[in-house]
Symmetry: C3
């Protein structure tokens, strides 16, 4: 297995094997499964969980790791083909990716959406182009439209929480000062649909997910026996929910125009900060998930994050185990 | 032993054991005492010695390490409880600390004083709150009012220099362009008082240490047989001194108002740059210590730093040995 | 061997041994030759290849590594002797270097030219001063006037490409928005001259290399049987060339006055972007080298970088093997 760009790169058998191994690695985290293997991490955008958990995953299995952070110790990088590089960027990923691959057995790269052109970001071509530039195994650490390591950890978390595979998951929009990309909501939606869940996307008017994101998820649900629907009615969405997954994203109609989006979202601030009252008609034991980082009392209230429903720390912990299992699947035993 | 927030977290027996081990580790630095253990380092403020020596301490004993630096590759972090996070901070330590603890066997955190409210910074509640958020062993890498790893290394240095336990140590204020927090002077004072030394705090009028800092040190001296006094008279302070420990700090009366402090300190610039002439009536062999970094020819003259009295490099070297001994005490042999 | 400040620090026998070992390490990259050894990396300037390849070199041989990056997580550093440090720099390399040496078995430091005074930068005194401050083995990771790790990797690359030791190498100036230092062109020129090559420096009028750089190279060529000449005539330069090595540098006559240099270079932009047409009268199989990073379509056109002549990725890969061989030469087997 050479590439992990999206959860779809793991077929069902491999996915179950990686999820099982992630569960086992929680109990037995340390080993030598990556001894003699070097993993290069390239972060074109900030990170906490991914940066820490990837380093821990590699070194706890006896491997080596290096981190390159353009703009914080390394040259600012250009990603556009054909660019005339007379601006701040001193290096192009067309060199950086194959060069870093010379020093590593696997590269893992974070590169967020550019946020200018909706079709371009949804196509997620940049991460594929970077994978094509890399002659070694390659992992997507969050691209314009996918965050598959998050989705893998989230699936593991749903298992740990004993949420039924056909349980009800609400993916809800929440307020944030800025329009954010679709990587996490799209990956969460695909993951839940593939798992066979009854998924509801809850959002204020104008903040529906782009049609292609919904269609991909519906196709996965059709295969797994799940369902995907959307609504602007919170009460209807939360009825009988097992899980509320909070996230913010941009309005598709304003994509590339952050001021327009901010005008549109301004009046939603109070109503779309996730609170305990949202769980009035969910299952009593319903859990709260979020990929983190989260802006407290803006996107989600303290009462939810600090309350017993929140599983966000356990969820983040699974990033380590899921990524370690993935690395062992991609690199282990193949030297 | 779960927490090292201040030197007081080591009882006398443990302290002597850690100091002895630090001495031995200078000669035998490499081992496997931390094999299979992961240490997470979270730096909310800049660092050179702490960052390098903690990484070396962990890896030279076979352990793994990761570093998270908010603002330089990682999200800017909020530390205030109840904050409405609509500013630059994307992540709260309430999530970051427990999440990073999922990836590590021990967390070590640097978080300087906020510099706004004197009572708040002296209470040093933030580092305690962060330790409370951490279900794993926790080390303070410099908080609002304590720098215990520095104090531990400094004690080791005083032993190496064969300064008598009841010797004379002068902790002197020195000029710096900005008001600095009390973490190092307070920890130095407590360390020297606990060691049984005759400690004199030397400072210009208005730059006394806060009363609570002096009282804590006097209580420690009362138990150890040491003494703690203060003076504005350099000649009196330096009489017979074994050690001059240089440091700058804020004026308590202007705390939170840096412009007022800068007006107050402006006329002190020439007189309070530490020079060789300060040692006129010390013991002839008196040594100079400083925690580093130091602004040359502002806080301390080249002639002192480059002269034979200076032990600042040896002192910084002991950060490695002391922290390695501490990590072995906290993590070694308990897997 | 205690210092590697320039390629000249390796005598012929050692140089051949390191080059041979670099070749072998490409095939057998992993070992324990640096087990128990700690390498400290201090980057006063940005880096991608050097930062990644040094970390990989150390850890793939079982060693430990730490990285300090002033301005990105660590204090900004002063380098000038006698400085009165009341500006942004909080720490002086006079402390930082010996302190970091306390934590490591070898230090490697990057410190670019200051770009103010030509004689000062050509003298390359700063890196020598830093090596003098370091009681441990020391490696230059690019100084004002030398980039010897690059030169070592480049020599290995010329061998791999089977370029004859007396082959023709053209070192050509290329356009860049800013005046750049002489470290890479000077090191490349000395390396090729020492290898016995027929070297031509190609540049627009006013962009000759400083006389001392040319003289050093001519002295090396005199010993090796090579030649060093310069020209402003591209056709003459490229006749029968085996290798075109692209690089940009400052005009000596404007050194320290970037605006004057930019006025002088502005009209050269179109003509001095390296293109495939430059190879019209080279050997048909002539190769293109560049140390990277490179500004695409400004310094070098996509058609060259993406075409079959380009060996820049292989060249960058040799940084890893060459530095690993160097580290083993300097640290291996001497514990």
């Amino acid at each position: 297995m050479r590439r992990f760009l999206d959860l779809e790169d793991l077929d069902d058998q491999r996915l179950e094997r990686v999820l099982d191994r992630a569960r086992d690695l929680r109990l037995h985290p340390v080993g030598q499964g990556l001894a003699g293997r070097t993993v290069g991490l390239l972060f074109l955008n900030p990170s906490v969980r991914t940066l820490a958990s990837m380093q821990a995953a590699v070194t706890q299995q006896g491997g080596q790791v290096f981190v390159i952070t353009p703009g914080a110790g390394s040259w600012v990088m250009e990603t556009r083909d054909g660019a005339v590089m007379d601006g701040p960027a001193a290096e192009h990923v067309r060199e950086a990716i194959p060069v870093l691959a010379e020093y590593a057995d696997l590269l893992a790269v974070r590169c967020f959406a550019r946020g200018e052109d909706l079709a371009e970001d949804l196509a997620d071509d940049l991460i594929r182009k970077m994978a094509d530039l890399c002659p070694k195994p390659f992992i997507n650490l969050e691209s314009a439209s996918a965050h598959p390591c998050q989705a893998l950890g989230d699936w593991r978390t749903l298992e740990d929480l004993e949420v039924p595979r056909n349980g009800r998951l609400v993916l809800s929009w929440a307020w944030h000062p800025k329009p954010l990309p679709y990587a996490v909501p799209a990956s969460t939606l695909r993951m839940a649909a593939r798992r066979g869940m009854e998924v509801t996307v809850l959002h204020p008017p104008g903040y529906e997910l782009p049609p292609s994101v919904m269609e991909e998820a519906r196709a996965l649900a059709a295969r797994s026996g799940g369902t995907v629907r959307e609504t602007v009615d919170r009460r209807e969405a939360m009825e009988g929910a097992h899980v509320l997954y909070g996230k913010s994203w941009a309005a598709p109609s304003c994509y590339g125009d952050p001021e327009a989006d901010q005008r549109m979202r301004a009046p939603l601030r109070q109503e779309w900060c996730i609170r305990e009252s949202w769980f009035a008609n969910s299952r009593p034991e319903a859990r709260f998930l979020h990929c983190l980082p989260v802006r407290r009392n803006v996107k989600v209230a303290d009462e939810v994050l600090d309350g017993p429903r929140s599983a966000v720390v356990h969820q983040a912990g699974n990033r380590l185990h899921a990524q370690k299992a993935l690395l062992l699947e991609m690199l282990g035993g193949c030297r």
